[in-house]
């Protein structure tokens, strides 16, 4: 029987983490995502599945605990919100450099600095362009519903282990705090799988395993970079996910992701009611970005509007995808403010129809 529950995004994420057979969660409280570790502690997952849960002394310690656990071939995850994610960037760079799998949830709040605890998408650049030092990429998933948050936990671990790469789930204060109906997947048992890349104890007659991101010789480091880049090309080829609405007959296209994608969808419906043929692409993977479909649609539409809860970040990737073939405009609110469907519709009319 389907198990339907009404759950907060953060709690649903935590429940999905247990059910995904996660071996370890290490985190540090920060609004608006503290429900993740609170829920985990309340559930006592050490009893339920043997999953280790620990409140670390800092986000820095937490991500390095992830590095250790991931290096043992275990499913390890952490969660935080924007200022805490900034602290994790060093660790993420090491994890990407050492090619280890892990899952990181960022329930984004407005910045810069301590910013606001209200929802935002202002960590887009940080998430999709690398975030820490060095040439690397995170695979970035952007859920728009509590259900997607749950489903993406499983997907994130699949991708993390398939590519041995950190995967970020880029949520925000809306998705984290809101409650929706959610269908939970069945418990996946924790795995004892052995990997030749993991530090699980040296096997007799075999070389010891070393996990490192250090190459003192530039020739060797370049080889690492080339291998990483080849991996990212594979990710770009295979893993793009997006949802499209009303694009078949669209004269105009909205592009928006996550919670903002849902608000924009409402604006699209309102525009349709007013007689404008507007379609929408909602990227579900922000890296890899749905370049191809946007490029293709730019031959068809008279203009594209990106809607973001930031000062215009994804719009740069949309422009790269469009490659000058059609005008690309941006509308957004930031600092924790959320654009309303009316505002979006109004911006669309002003930019493309000729104002009011």
């Amino acid at each position: 029987m389907k198990e339907l529950r009404l759950m907060k995004g953060n709690e649903a994420f935590a429940e999905a983490a247990i059910r995904a057979g996660t071996d370890a969660y290490f985190g540090y409280p920060i609004t608006p995502q503290s429900e993740v570790i609170e829920y985990l502690m309340a559930q006592n997952p050490e009893e339920r599945t043997g999953m280790a849960v620990l409140q670390a002394e800092s986000e820095i310690a937490a991500i390095n605990m992830i590095y250790g656990a991931a290096g043992c071939g275990k499913k390890a995850m952490t969660s935080s919100s924007s200022p805490g994610i900034s602290l994790k960037q060093e660790g993420l760079s090491y994890i990407a450099g050492a090619e280890l799998p892990c899952v990181v949830l960022n329930v984004v709040r407005g910045g810069p600095g301590l910013g606001t605890i209200q929802p935002s998408q202002s960590d887009y650049f940080q998430a999709v362009k690398g975030g820490g030092h060095g040439d690397y990429k995170l695979i970035v998933l952007a859920p728009a519903t509590v259900q997607e948050t749950v489903d993406f936990v499983k997907l994130a671990f699949d991708l993390a282990f398939k590519y041995r790469n950190p995967v970020m789930i880029l949520s925000d204060g809306i998705i984290g705090q809101m409650m929706e109906k959610v269908e939970l997947f069945e418990q996946i048992p924790r795995s004892d799988e052995e990997y030749d890349w993991a530090t699980q104890g040296k096997k007799p007659g075999k070389d010891h395993t070393i996990i490192t991101s250090l190459q003192l010789k530039p020739e060797e480091q370049e080889k690492v970079n080339l291998r990483l880049q080849a991996k990212y090309r594979e990710v770009e080829k295979n893993e793009v996910l997006y949802e499209s609405y009303n694009t078949e007959d669209a004269d105009y296209l909205f592009v928006a992701f996550g919670s903002c994608g849902r608000i924009t969808q409402k604006a699209m419906e309102m525009a349709r009611k007013k007689g404008y043929k507007v379609g929408q692409i909602r990227p579900k993977t922000l890296y890899p970005f749905p370049v191809e479909v946007i490029n293709k649609l730019s031959d068809q539409v008279k203009g594209i509007l990106t809607v973001e809860m930031n000062a215009g970040q994804m719009v740069e990737d949309v422009r790269l995808a469009v490659d000058g073939k059609t005008p690309v405009e941006y509308f957004g609110r930031y600092g924790g403010m959320i654009p309303s469907p009316d505002e979006i519709l109004n911006a669309f009319e002003q930019k493309f129809i000729g104002g009011k």
Binding site: L6, I117, I174, M178, M179, E180, K181, I263, P341
Partner: protein, 181 residues
Amino acid sequence: MNEEIIIAGFGGQGVLSMGQILCYGGVMQNKEVSWMPSYGPEMRGGTANCTAIISDEKISSPVLNTFDTAIVLNQPSMDKFEDAIKPGGMLIYEINGIIRKPKRDDIKIYSIAAYDESIKMKNTKIFNMIVIGGFLKVKPILDVENVVKGLEKVLPERYHHLIPLNKEAIHRGMDIIECEK
């Protein structure tokens, strides 16, 4: 059916759980639902609010600027949300917290003396269920039975012996809500 509700009042009045109970009632009745709270330091004793959407259709935006119904339990909430009600929409307010009466004349306005009633029932914790009852009387979008089932989900097991009292509170609310205009 697509009902977009804002519920607002002081922290501790049960504002957030009212929205949750209605949403869980919606789940029991196979509706699409979404609940979005205000969160952060403002919740610590200040004003709290939540948006509850109950719909036959999939819900796009969980965050709204205008509402079909506003349920306000104190004056700051009245000041903040009276103008956010759609023309033809509905306002329900609890009389004790209100100094300035609503001014709109393009909406339906109801008042409910839920706090006084809860004192009569000797349990002020059921105050919010009385308000829910009033709402369900004038906007019967959900069956009371389903709302009670929703309550069972929201209420920790150790309080389940209070469910009959809560059910009574819903019915009491249905009886005492008054139409102002």
